[in-house]
């Protein structure tokens, strides 16, 4: 009876030594201060190793893995809360929770900051990096490999004759190039409206202007919970009538808010919408 804990101990030490050799140390008290790293963690590590995620992680309008995040401890984005959680790794974004991340660094905690994914190719790289940091490189390798294979199966070769699509969000926000969603458009064989229409640096486009120079496909980018004027604008009957049937597709913002394997679901939907558009034109 007494030998069993000792044996377990030996096995654990052995495992740590193996991973240590691969310069990876398994972390068991991980704190995440960013919605995107929250979801990355959920993909990679067992739940009990996560000691804090953001409150957004369980919000289904923002997080695609909201169901998995339910019941995980939510941590406030303050220096005090982070240090009091005694994490062995702090994951965060580049722009948010700056003070908490600085404090974690100063107290000597290992910190990893993950910038927002701007291209689909960033996603497998980030998965591998985070997997290495939390000590599960094999799991990361498997996920990244699966991502790359699915991307290859879905991607279209871009051409100058591709149909034009506008990503239209709350308040009339039009997504410009240099963003993840723009890269998803390109991979689906669509050209971004902002690169074609010559609308300058305008990020907000009134409904009337959009209808006057209509793109072939309206990609409605829905985000956020609750009712608001900003959201109800996307339900305006003028948009419904000006972009009927195959000229309109809705992509929930949670699919491409963060670069995740699920972002390929957005690519899949857009590629299908593009095919439907081509069939309609023929």
């Amino acid at each position: 009876m007494r030998r069993r804990p000792a044996l377990t101990c030996l096995i654990v030490i052995g495992l740590v030594a193996v991973w240590g050799g691969a310069r990876a140390q398994t972390r068991h008290r991980i704190v995440s201060l960013n919605l995107c790293t929250d979801q990355m963690l959920l993909l990679l590590v067992p739940r009990q190793d996560i000691v804090g995620v953001t409150s957004l992680a369980a919000d289904c309008s923002n997080a695609v893995m909201c169901d998995a995040a339910r019941g995980l401890p939510v941590i406030r984005q303050t220096a005090e809360a982070v240090i009091a959680a005694r994490p062995d790794l702090v994951l965060g974004g580049v722009y948010t929770a700056a003070t908490a991340i600085l404090a974690a660094r100063e107290t000597g905690l290992p910190v990893m900051q993950v910038p927002p994914a701007e291209r689909l190719d960033d996603i497998p790289r980030q998965i591998r990096e985070v997997a290495r940091a939390v000590g599960v490189p094999e799991r990361g390798e498997a996920l990244a490999g699966a991502f790359a294979r699915r991307l290859d199966a879905l991607r279209r070769v871009p051409s100058v004759t591709d149909p034009v699509a506008a990503i239209y969000g709350a308040n009339g926000f039009v997504t410009d190039k240099g963003s993840l969603s723009d890269d998803v458009l390109t991979h689906a064989g669509l050209r971004n409206f902002t690169t074609v229409a010559g609308m300058g640096r305008a990020h907000f486009l009134p409904i009337e202007m959009l209808i006057a120079r209509p793109p072939d496909l309206l990609v409605v980018d829905r985000s956020g919970v609750g009712t608001s004027l900003a959201q109800s604008m996307l339900d305006h009957p003028a948009l419904r009538d000006a972009f009927p049937g195959p000229h309109r597709v809705t992509i929930p913002a949670r699919l491409w808010l963060c670069g995740l394997p699920q972002t390929l679901d957005a690519l899949d939907r857009l590629a299908r919408a593009r095919d439907a558009l081509e069939r309609g034109n023929r």
């Binding site: 709350a170 409904i207 009337e208 006057a212 209509p214 956020g224 919970v225 900003a230």
Partner: protein
Amino acid sequence: MNDRRDRTLVAILGGAVLALFALSLVWGESAIAFGPACADLLAGRHSAGAVILGELRLPRAILAVTVGGALGLSGAALQGYLRNPLADPGVLGVSGGAALGAVLVFYTGLMGLSVAMLPLGGLAGALLAVLLLMGLVGQGGALVLLLAGAALSSFAAALTALALNLMPSPYASFEIMHWVMGSLTDRTFTHVWISLPGTLLGCLLMLTTARALDALALGDEVAESLGFRLRGPAGIQARVVLGTALAVGSCVAVAGAIGFVGLVIPHLLRPLTGHQPSRLLLPSFLGGALLLLVADAAVRVLSTGTEIQIGVLTALAGAPVFFFRVLKMRRGMS
């Protein structure tokens, strides 16, 4: 109420409203071929021009007329009833109350039950505000009325801001400007249909008080001796209160609290209608409609990036009138 002497004024105002209504259909943010767009619209084709004309510009122009008209008329009726030239649904906090009611319905999802909940929320808020105002002021004078109005409107604005901050939508707290300043951007025919019944009914109620308002100008006793009932369910007070609440509540629910229309229009038209409250009502409706059509056109000219709220422009036009009245009151006191 429709005096022969006012025919020219009413004709000129009516003509100008029609002309500006047409202009706001023809001209907008984008250039569309008006003739073909009209033909497409009538034939039921969803061409870009037809959609822009029929579903964006038309509801917006109709609302400019009904909302502006209702606010102008409410101002004239309130000023006649309270015998105070500074009375206006915005200044007195009625619009603010309506905005609060509409916000509570719109953002909490009560509107999911039925779109008709939105004007009902506005109506409830407006009615509560008018009743509170009347109760607060009682037989107090002009100063008491304006103080009560100022307190009520800032209280309603604060509660509106609080309500928006507590709503789940991340966009809600940025939409305070729409509700306290007002805007006609992206309104649909649904908004026209839900606001029209209340607006029309309220306006008709206010128009029935015309002759009573003339009598009231001579004092309560004179009015009663002439056979006009002040209190009671069909009295002048009830009709003015209910009429204002119905019209303002329905309008604010769809367009936000556009201010100063009810203040500036009766003020400008009063000398032209012989300072007689009854003759002021119809011209004030037309004048209010005209002011909002002009302000809405100006919004479209002046806006480059994000749109300017229409209430900002009416406030810019209305505030000087307010200052002028205040100066005149001061001279009258000293």
